[in-house]
């Protein structure tokens, strides 16, 4: 029995071993597979890591770029601020310059005019007609220069002056302007206008425009036998267009660009008086209202001055 039992147990043991070996082999195969899998994953991971590192570098670069850009922005804001400050300073300088011009130039002019007048009053009888004429020239030129200085100051002040927009009745405005013109100058011009469209604008500035354009029309048609001035208004593409026409001396369209320049004159002083600032003032006022000015004319056949303003008055 003992031998038989022993050999049975041995057989079982061997079987067990064989089984275990088989299992081990299976496990080893599994391990190999898992190992391969791991190796693959590690490879993938290192690939990802490389990708991440690259992306990170890109981010760092972008970040640096952003810092650079924001620094640039801060700098350019500083530049803008500095420029703004300089513009403000310059404007102030210009204003005080205007004041000095106005004050310092007017004082000697007043003396020239005044002393010439005193000479005329006290010693006029000692001078002959020619002597008195010469004195008169001194006085009228001093006066003219006074007007010129005032015009220039008006022109320079327009830049800094604010605009107060209100609905303006152009018919009333035209009547006011015409009665003021009639008080300051004698003329025989016939002035025609029917209903003129109202506009939203600065009353005083617009009055300046009408005064200037109407005085010009009267002045430049004054040598005609039957001077005729027409004022019209129309509505076109969201704009209001006003025109003032005369049948006066007109102008050569070749020089149309010079009309609105400061100190630009198309006529000799002896022919028609003026400082050459008026239309420049008109243009600046209209431009400050987001409008346009232009003119048409023909030598000897009159001129028409137009200006447009945005139609915000709801003219329908």
């Amino acid at each position: 029995m003992a031998n038989g039992e022993k050999s049975d147990a041995l057989i079982n043991y061997k079987k067990e071993l064989a089984f275990q070996n088989e299992e081990k082999g299976k496990r080893a195969a599994d391990f190999i597979i898992a190992n391969k899998e791991l190796a693959f994953q590690i490879k993938e991971k290192s690939k990802r890591t490389k990708e991440l590192l690259f992306a990170n570098k890109a981010l760092v670069f972008q970040n640096q770029e952003m810092i650079k850009k924001s620094k640039e922005l801060v700098n350019s804001t500083k530049v803008v601020d500095a420029l703004e400050k300089r513009v403000k300073e310059r404007t102030k300088d210009l204003e005080s310059f205007s004041y000095s011009v106005s004050h310092d130039l007017r004082t000697p002019l007043r003396a020239i005019n005044g002393y010439a007048k005193m000479l005329e009053e006290d010693y006029g009888t000692l001078l002959d007609a020619e002597g008195n004429r010469l004195l008169g020239e001194v006085r009228s030129n001093a006066k003219k220069m006074g007007v010129l200085i005032d015009d220039l100051l008006t022109f320079s002040r327009l830049g800094s002056k604010g605009i107060t927009k209100l609905l303006v009745d152009i018919n009333k405005l035209t009547e006011t302007v015409l009665s003021e013109i009639n008080q300051s100058m004698t003329h025989h011009a016939k002035i025609k206008f029917s209903y003129l469209l109202p506009v939203v604008a600065d009353y005083n500035l617009l009055k300046h425009v009408f005064t200037n354009l109407l005085s010009n029309a009267i002045k430049y048609s004054s040598k005609k036998e039957n001077p005729l001035i027409e004022i019209k208004s129309e509505q076109k593409n969201g704009e209001l267009i006003y025109s003032i026409s005369d049948n006066g001396v007109g102008f050569d369209m070749h020089y149309v660009d010079k009309l609105f320049g400061v100190f630009q004159r198309l006529h000799a002083e002896e022919e028609f008086s003026g400082t050459g600032v008026g239309l420049a003032i008109v243009q600046r006022i209209i431009q400050n209202h987001d409008g346009k000015v232009w003119a048409e004319g023909k030598e000897g056949q009159g001129a028409t001055f137009y200006f447009s303003l945005p139609d915000t008055a709801n003219n329908k």
């Binding site: 204003e95 005080s96 205007s98 004041y99 106005s102 004050h103 310092d104 007017r106 004082t107 000697p108 002019l109 007043r110 003396a111 005019n113 005044g114 002393y115 010439a116 007048k117 005193m118 006085r139 001093a142 006066k143 220069m145 006074g146 100051l153 002040r157």
Partner: protein, 146 residues
């Protein structure tokens, strides 16, 4: 003598303007007892009886002060400030006579109590009229504070 009966005090540093102003007054026949002081310092000394005018009877006050703004050292605004800050002189009408309407001090002059602000016209006839008008108004029409 004359210092006690001054009616118009002209404070002006520009000799030409002073002569024109005096002439304009004379022309409109209202230049009695005008005294011309050539700067702000002199004006203050006259009004408050100090310096050159020490001992002047300052209870004798001018009826009208014409004041130029642009003067060296003590300018017109400072003279105006002192006139209007002193009980003795604050009731005297002060007319600012200046060269330019561009003057940034118009507002300040009124704030300090200026009674009038006039821009001297370039043209002598207009200048004469302006001076005559203001003289007529302040010396004859206006009822002064007693």
């Amino acid at each position: 003598m004359q210092n006690n009966t001054v009616e118009i005090l002209l404070i002006e540093d520009n000799m030409n303007d002073a002569e024109l102003t005096i002439r304009a007054f004379r022309k409109s026949k209202i230049n009695n007892n005008l005294i011309h002081l050539k700067n702000g310092v002199e004006a203050l000394e006259f009004l408050f009886g100090t310096g050159k005018y020490k001992g002047r009877d300052i209870s004798h006050k001018p009826k009208l002060i014409l004041l130029d703004l642009k003067m060296p050292k003590v300018d017109g605004l400072e003279v105006l400030r002192q006139i209007k800050a002193n009980d003795l002189t604050k009731a005297i009408p002060v007319v600012i006579l200046t060269s330019s309407k561009e003057h940034p001090d118009i507002e300040r002059a009124y704030a300090l109590g200026a009674n009038s602000y006039i821009v001297k016209p370039v043209e002598f006839d207009e200048f004469t009229k302006a001076v005559a008008d203001l003289g007529f108004y302040w010396l004859l029409v206006n009822q002064p504070h007693v």
